[in-house]
Symmetry: C2
């Protein structure tokens, strides 16, 4: 029929009728193919969970929708399952909300859904429910997604900021700021180009590798606001301080270069496939070794330690000076997630 | 500080930093107050579920954001928990995604979150996780929400379109089209006014009342696309036909009037607090009696029956004629959810 021939999303693709069903059946469902996604149902029944459920949710509004190393589809999987992984959970299920702008190319939607489906499959999670809304032209910048993740807590897991103690070490699983920088480079507005890829990835292999270590106090994926923001949150929640050592924090050459050009601080730029962990002094080297043995952790490093003598994030610079990393104020960081 | 004094959402309210935390702590969290919403966490651990989990998700883009009888906040609760209720589940938890436009009034956000929190509390569900994104001015029409609902299947429940048989009766718990009409009236573009309220409500009392009845085959809340769309879906999925009787389908005077004026068909207009049920002939009167005994079901009616002689939705009109209710095609119904 007319609307589909044009290959563009029309308002009627969101009206609950035939064209919406066709869009879901032809484009969305095949990309997410799994037997539990029954589009005849308003709600899906899942098998009984073999452990305490862990839930998280995330919205995705990244611009551009496709960037080196990923796109909003794969990001909507990684962003959500990583929140489960760093909480010590095994991600099992995802739900998916689409907000699509009228006039969006259906072929592009298909490509992004394929990417989402592949990322989900690679991570062993299934998309079990979804909802599609179409917004009038000019009331959405192409596509926004929201995903909710459901997992179960791994047995014996007990992670919390509350367990963090003075003397604990801070580790990061790889270079920081790759995602934020790759997304910025993908925007024409900066007039820059590069070969840098987003680090967008499933961090479950990194968190699983530490599952039996009692010395792991707390993990977090440093997304919006980056490593510095997670460190600030930790200080605020615990009343403890964090010393970070600039010389040990892995930052790629390209991220460093872009940050110098544009005046960004890499410690505030988003990662989408890194884990920050706070680990007892006793287990810190073991965590480092396990991470470095994994492809995703080859550049892992011990980057700082917890202090009780102050309650700020203090960066010891390469030149031996000290700089306080404050919480982000009114800096509207680019839309990187 | 400057940005909050203006009372408007700024891009920095979405950057993961101090102002975002302040927004969440001052405006969103108090409205949703519950002990499980720990904003320090990336994911929340829930108590072990005492039954098979049932999951659903919905996006909300209604315009205007506030309408007689409800707003996007309460709607985001009802829309999602009702999908669980009609699946035979008891809703327990919600997650919440906010997509807010730069420049949105913080006082309005607070009001809508309060409405959401109150609707959740009234329905006995808790908002356990959330995420906030801020979109640049002009890339969102104020506020979009997405909610994901988690519930557990009520013991002994077994509902499916697959159980629907020829001879079964079709029931509706109350007048159709109130929500869709109330939202249209709330838009200045139509130049109409009225006292009609949206039917937006938690349908759990209606579904719970039928919990022990084996003759209840299938339930659905007729939202986007209305009663006619649910009926069409049922025909498509089962290969059976549905006869609906115009004289028995409850439609309020105001809905009828507006539909005549604007050329809408009330059977395609959204309800947000009604249940359509397909029930064995044996139990149909019992369902009717139980519904009519409830405040929300006082106007419940038996409105049709399942037929094996055809596979369409056929409306017998008040004048004795017959009209086929087709699936919605390219009719871009107003943004009512």
């Amino acid at each position: 029929m007319a609307t589909s021939e044009k290959g563009l999303i029309e308002l009627c693709h969101g009206n609950g009728g035939r064209l919406m069903h066709q869009l879901i059946e032809d484009i969305i469902r095949p990309a997410l193919a799994n037997p539990m996604l029954d589009t005849k149902l308003d709600a899906v029944q899942l098998p009984v969970l073999e452990g305490p459920p862990v839930i998280t949710t995330d919205g995705f509004t990244v611009q551009p929708l496709e960037f080196p190393g990923g796109d909003i589809g794969s990001l909507a999987v990684h962003g959500t399952i990583n929140d489960l992984a760093v909480s010590g959970a095994v991600p099992l299920y995802l739900t998916l909300n689409l907000f699509i702008e009228e006039g969006f190319e259906i072929s592009r939607l298909a490509r992004l859904m394929k990417s989402l489906g592949e990322a989900a499959e690679a991570a062993g999670v299934v998309v079990v429910a979804g909802d599609t809304k179409v917004l009038p032209r000019g009331q959405c910048s192409g596509l926004y997604l929201a995903t909710t993740g459901i997992g179960i807590l791994s047995p014996g897991t007990n992670l919390s900021m509350d367990f963090v103690q003075s003397g604990d070490k801070v580790l990061i699983s790889g270079p920081v700021g790759d995602h934020g920088t790759a997304v910025m480079l993908a925007r024409e507005q900066f007039g820059l180009a590069g070969t840098l890829l987003s680090d967008s990835a499933n961090v479950l292999p990194l968190t699983r590798a530490l599952q039996d270590l009692g010395g792991v106090r707390f993990m977090r994926d440093p997304t919006r606001g980056g490593l510095a923001t997670v460190a600030c949150e930790l200080c605020r929640a615990t009343g403890l301080g964090i010393n970070l050592w600039q010389e040990t924090i892995p930052v790629s050459e390209q991220v460093r270069g872009v940050c110098e050009l544009l005046g960004y601080d890499p410690y505030y730029l988003a990662c989408e496939g890194r884990v920050m962990a706070v680990v007892s002094e006793h287990d810190a080297l073991l965590v480092l070794k396990r991470w470095q043995a994994l492809p995703a952790g080859s550049q892992a490093a011990i980057v700082g330690e917890i202090q009780s003598s102050h309650s700020q994030v203090v960066l010891t610079t390469d030149y031996g000076g000290e700089r306080i990393l404050e919480e982000l104020e009114d800096d509207p960081l680019p839309r990187i997630c």
